[in-house]
């Protein structure tokens, strides 16, 4: 199964500190492949280095793509992190 969602980051800290760590931590809990796209950069959602270098700021639009058997559950949790106000 493959799910694609276009989301806008809510956290004021950007995807740099706690939210980035939570995103990667969550992505790693699932079998599914997770990619995050910003502009024309596509990176592995399971790599903290990749997520950090993507430089996602508050209100930036990103595309999350999850592919695999547990995609639905994974996307559900990832979406919550992106849309959560602050951590």
């Amino acid at each position: 199964m493959k799910i694609v969602k276009r989301l806008r980051l809510v956290s004021e800290q950007g995807l740099h500190a706690r939210p980035a760590a939570m995103l990667v931590e969550t992505a790693n809990k699932f079998m599914s492949k997770v990619t995050v796209t910003k502009g024309d950069l596509i990176v592995d959602g399971k790599s903290i280095l990749n997520i950090l270098t993507l430089g996602v700021e508050c209100k930036d639009e990103i595309i999350i793509e999850v592919e695999g058997e547990d995609a639905e559950e994974a996307m559900d949790l990832l979406e919550r992190i992106i849309l959560k106000e602050d951590v």
Binding site: G14, R18, A21, V24, E25, T53, G55
Partner: protein, 589 residues
């Protein structure tokens, strides 16, 4: 060669002038050397990376746990990113791929890949990401340390004449200082009582501490002049400057020759009162320097070096040999050996010592020894066995009250019983003393008097604890002040009490070796001094010129004064007057 001459300044801690090329140990990601490998080494290289990552993970988790306990989990989260980096598959895959392609050492590839990411983050203009770049640096340093097996500096042995420039040197770093090649030492952090400063002094290496931004302003290979007497640091000197300092260096060395003439003077005041001017040492080979400078014994033999920079604990026999060597060479003079003072800024690599937020107030010295009686007993056995070879005394550090002395004595008696049973000889009248370096101990000399045979005032810690100033923190090290009237009153009280109770009292901190404090301490009634060996000839010159009555007058005057600055100005002027012009210039007042 066309670089402009620049001048920096720091705190002078070890006199002399050193001129050589700089070796810079940067606080940022360290330089790692490129090394070629064979295809068949690949799996071995990958395995060593995995091991280093695993080890680093354990270290971080441990720090994180103790931080969570101390400050709450919110703060411990600062390690989350580092922990995730350790498990970052993209990073690992990239390293392995490059390893295969480039066939060079894994530490180099690791270093290079991280550098790339760090640069990428630094480009994004965001304060949060700047912090992450720092995370990557810290993470990189931790892993590299485990990958290479030891600290970067320890891995490097100096083969050419060098001025060493670093942010700070840990005790294990300073242990590799080789005075044949290290002609000068400069650190950015710290004050005159840090381990680096003490070591530089004992190795007679000109040194400056607290030189801000030295590691960023000086590049490897720059010619550097270190003036450990004035605190001046000159980078890329012009020909004229170079000549000036070369001349100065020759003059300093000529002065040294003159001062050395006083080393065999008897340690007596002008009016014939006997004084003891002894030496502080750290390593057995320093005994030569102790004898060369005419010491009346060893007032402080630090034993930490035996425990540092190694993977296992020192055996009883190894310690016995070290103590015996020092004691035998010093016969008939007294050697006071201090039981190990681990903790504070001195950690033991093999021990399970967790991160402390306030290490100088933490688990160290006698507290550590009493909690680890097996380590303590091994050292005591070695000391007791060595006591038959000469005049050995045992000194207990960081005593805060009677309980620690009682407990320590109980353990010493147990060790003696064991030795009796095994029919191993030792000196049954061996003297045991307490170091007075906490204000609480300083106030209870009367309670301690029947429990120990002597006192020794450890001024470095006593000052730090009474002024509540972390002597390593460069932002506040200016507060560290031996001439603080409050500190002087504590010292005065200790000396008065000791004399009243007829307990020998000495001083073994840095303060004892500052020439202008000498008449004051003498006037307060101190008769035993233990200082860096280099200072002994100078103190012997001063002691032969002072009369006790003069010293007492100086002390009485000082105890009425209210400011450290006024006290120091007064003491310097008094010493100058005592010594006259010629000798005054010789000792530099």
């Amino acid at each position: 060669m066309f670089d402009k001459e620049i001048k920096l300044k720091g705190v002078p801690v070890s006199p002399g002038i050193g001129i050589a090329k700089a070796h810079v140990i940067s606080n940022d990601l360290l330089q790692v050397e490129h090394r070629s490998i064979k295809e068949s080494d690949l799996s071995e290289e990958i395995k060593s990376l995995e091991n280093a990552l695993l080890k680093t993970k354990k270290e971080i988790v441990k720090i994180q746990n103790s931080m969570a306990k101390e400050m709450g989990s919110k703060y411990a989260n600062i390690f989350d990113v580092q922990l995730m980096l350790l498990e970052d598959r993209v990073l690992l895959e990239e390293i392995i791929e490059r390893l295969r392609k480039e066939l060079c050492g894994v530490e180099y590839v690791f270093f290079d890949v991280l550098k790339k990411y760090k640069k990428a983050l630094a480009k994004l203009d965001d304060p949060y990401l700047k912090e992450r770049a720092q995370d990557i640096s810290d993470f990189g340093k931790r892993v590299l340390k485990n990958l290479i097996g030891k600290d970067m500096l320890a891995a490097k042995e100096f083969k050419e004449k060098t001025i060493l420039i670093a942010h700070d040197l840990s005790p294990s770093d300073t242990a590799v200082l080789n005075r044949e090649f290290v002609l000068g030492l400069v650190t950015e952090s710290g004050g005159p009582t840090t381990h680096a400063a003490i070591m530089a002094k004992s190795f007679e290496i000109p040194a400056i501490v607290g030189a801000e931004n030295a590691t960023s302003k000086i590049e490897a290979g720059d010619i550097v002049i270190v003036d450990g007497s004035s605190g001046e640091l000159i980078v890329n000197p012009s020909h004229a400057t170079l000549r000036l300092y070369q001349e100065k260096k020759n003059k300093v060395e000529a002065k040294l020759v003159r001062i050395m003439e006083f080393k065999d003077n008897e340690s007596k005041t002008k009016d014939g009162v006997a004084i003891k001017i002894m030496a502080n040492i750290e390593f057995p080979p320093e005994v030569k320097s102790v004898q060369d400078h005419g010491a009346d014994g060893i007032g402080l033999y630090r034993t930490e070096y035996l425990y540092l920079n190694r993977e296992n604990l020192p055996t009883e026999d190894e310690q016995y040999q070290a103590y015996k060597m020092v004691v035998l060479q010093m016969v008939p003079d007294t050697v006071t050996i201090r039981t190990v003072d681990l903790g504070g800024d001195k950690f033991i690599s093999q021990m399970d010592i967790s991160y402390e937020l306030n290490p100088f107030l933490g688990w160290r010295a006698i507290r550590f020894c009493l909690a680890r009686p097996s380590i303590f007993k091994t050292q005591l056995r070695a000391m007791l066995r060595a006591s038959v070879h000469g005049d050995l005394q045992i000194m207990l550090p960081m005593i805060s009250g009677i309980e620690e002395v009682d407990e320590a004595r109980k353990i010493i008696v147990e060790v003696m019983r064991d030795l009796d049973r095994e029919e191993i000889p030792y000196n049954k009248d061996l003297k045991i003393g307490a170091m007075l370096e906490t204000p609480s101990a300083a106030m209870v000399c009367d309670h301690l008097k029947n429990r120990v045979d002597f006192f020794s005032i450890g001024t470095n810690d006593l000052i730090q604890y009474s002024i509540a100033v972390d002597r390593i923190n460069e932002k506040i090290s200016y507060l560290y002040e031996p001439a603080h009237p409050g500190v002087l009153r504590l010292i005065d009280r200790i000396i008065k009490d000791s004399r009243e109770y007829h307990i020998p009292v000495g001083m073994c901190g840095e303060m004892a070796g500052v020439n202008y404090f000498f008449p004051l301490l003498l006037g307060l009634g101190l008769r035993e001094f233990s200082v860096s060996p280099l200072i002994i000839p100078e103190l012997k010159l001063i002691v032969s010129i002072v009369e006790i009555a003069q010293a007492e007058k100086i002390a009485a005057e000082v105890m009425k004064m209210d400011s450290a600055k006024a006290i120091k100005d007064f003491l310097k002027a008094e010493l100058k007057a005592l010594l006259g012009k010629d000798y005054g210039e010789l000792v530099g007042v």
